[in-house]
Amino acid sequence: MIEFRSISKTFPGGTTAVDDFSLVIPSHRTTVFVGSSGCGKTTLLRMINRMVDASSGDLEIDGENVSTIDPVRLRRRIGYVMQNSGLLPHRTVIDNIATVPRLNGVPRKDAHERALQLMDTVGLDRSMAERYPSQLSGGQQQRVGVARGLAVDPNILLMDEPFGAVDPIVRAELQQELLRLQRELGKTVVFVTHDIDEAFLLGDQVVILEKGARIAQKGTPEEILANPASDFVASFVGADRGKRALSIREIDGARVLVDADGTVAGRLVEAGPS
């Protein structure tokens, strides 16, 4: 469990990125911070591994205040995946994945063995082990990034817009992979995105943020869609338009759902036991 308690962050220069933020992030679930750029979501994420230190307030991981943990050691036990993969361009795929175990002193041979297994886990062919990141496609690089984030089998995985820079088809594929991985591994995932569809797809808990990391609404995707807390949320999730505003139309006795553009989205059936 990760707990933010009245966290604020003012950067030198006076911008307040985070203003009195409190939140509990449950273990083994995916929590998504979603908001427009500059809302402070990445700052929140980076506070968890102390890439950014809070100006005031407390942040605890399983009851331990992070400010009491050496940042370098803290980071080695938290997985981190970022946009554009952040892979080390001068290291091969296998060495990139083995980075953190090697930092922790795991022998090279063991770290490489584990890295190969992780390549299987994230759906990368082992033949790519000796390639350099520049020789991979964007989607493959991102998979390496995820494998690297998982290398020390961390409890917590931080993901900062990890699929932001790949094309939509690859993004959809990677999102499905992440859902599959999460079903298998059950990590505490904290995911940052500006894409509300991605947030709803991946998040068990979705936190919609306004400027200054003020929580506009938090809840499950269902809760948020069913009851947007404000006009801001309604407009942000697009509840009032497009693919989300479905209406019922009767055609020959059957009830079909039509979206705001008049396109048929599906058929209305009674929900069976799931």
Partner: protein, 214 residues
């Protein structure tokens, strides 16, 4: 041509001497410039100051430097030490700026990622920043190498025998071939250094050789 053939042994000897004398200033210049460039890169306030001062060193004419250094450092005018120190100063003058530029060329996202992985700053410097600065460092070092090989010829003024001897010899005795031989040999050695550095660089930085898929 006959003069060259008749004196080929001396030309070769001077060439070897030239190579030997060139290596130390290049190596020392690189090593000394590294912390200077790092400080200039790391602390923006010192950047202008350090790089300007170091850059000014390069504008001191070599003859003047040969005259100033001995009394300053308590060295004899005639001798290798005088020339080697002067050439090291020039090497630092070029390399310090290259080092600062090289470190600035490293992608910030990658540095951030490395920090997020759990690299301490010292370890990150050697494992990430330094190797990734490699291509720009190498470019600077190649300039230093060629410049050092060329400047060394002036050392003959203070009695250090290098290919520069062929210039003074040719001038004093009116032998054009001697001067030409000196020029050609200097250029060949400069190109040799440049080539070797490029090859060593490619060997040390294999990732710069791969062709990108995307």
């Amino acid at each position: 041509m006959t003069w060259i053939l008749a004196n080929i042994e001396q030309i070769l000897e001077l060439s070897i001497e030239h190579v030997r004398l060139s290596i130390l200033p290049i190596v020392l210049g690189f090593i000394i410039a590294l912390p200077l460039g790092w400080v200039a890169h790391r602390y923006q306030l010192t950047r202008g100051l350090i790089l300007t001062l170091v850059g000014l060193l390069y504008t001191i004419p070599s003859l003047a430097l040969f005259v100033i250094l001995p009394p300053l450092l308590g060295l004899p005018f005639i001798g290798e030490a005088n020339v080697l120190i002067a050439l090291t100063i020039y090497a630092v003058a070029i390399m310090a700026r290259s080092t600062a530029d090289a470190l600035a060329s490293v992608d910030r996202d990658i540095q951030q990622a490395a920090t997020a992985m759990g690299y301490s700053s010292w370890r990150r410097f050697w494992a990430v920043d330094f190797p990734l600065a490699g291509p720009v460092l190498l470019a600077g070092l190649r300039v230093v190498a060629v410049s050092t090989v060329s400047l060394l010829t002036v050392g003959v003024i203070v009695g250090v025998d290098s290919l520069g001897y062929l210039f003074t010899n040719g001038y004093q005795r009116g032998i054009l071939e001697s001067v030409l031989a000196g020029v050609v040999a200097t250029v060949v050695i400069a190109l040799l250094f440049d080539r070797i550095l490029a090859l060593v660089g490619a060997w040390l930085m294999p990732w710069t050789r791969v062709k990108g898929a995307s």
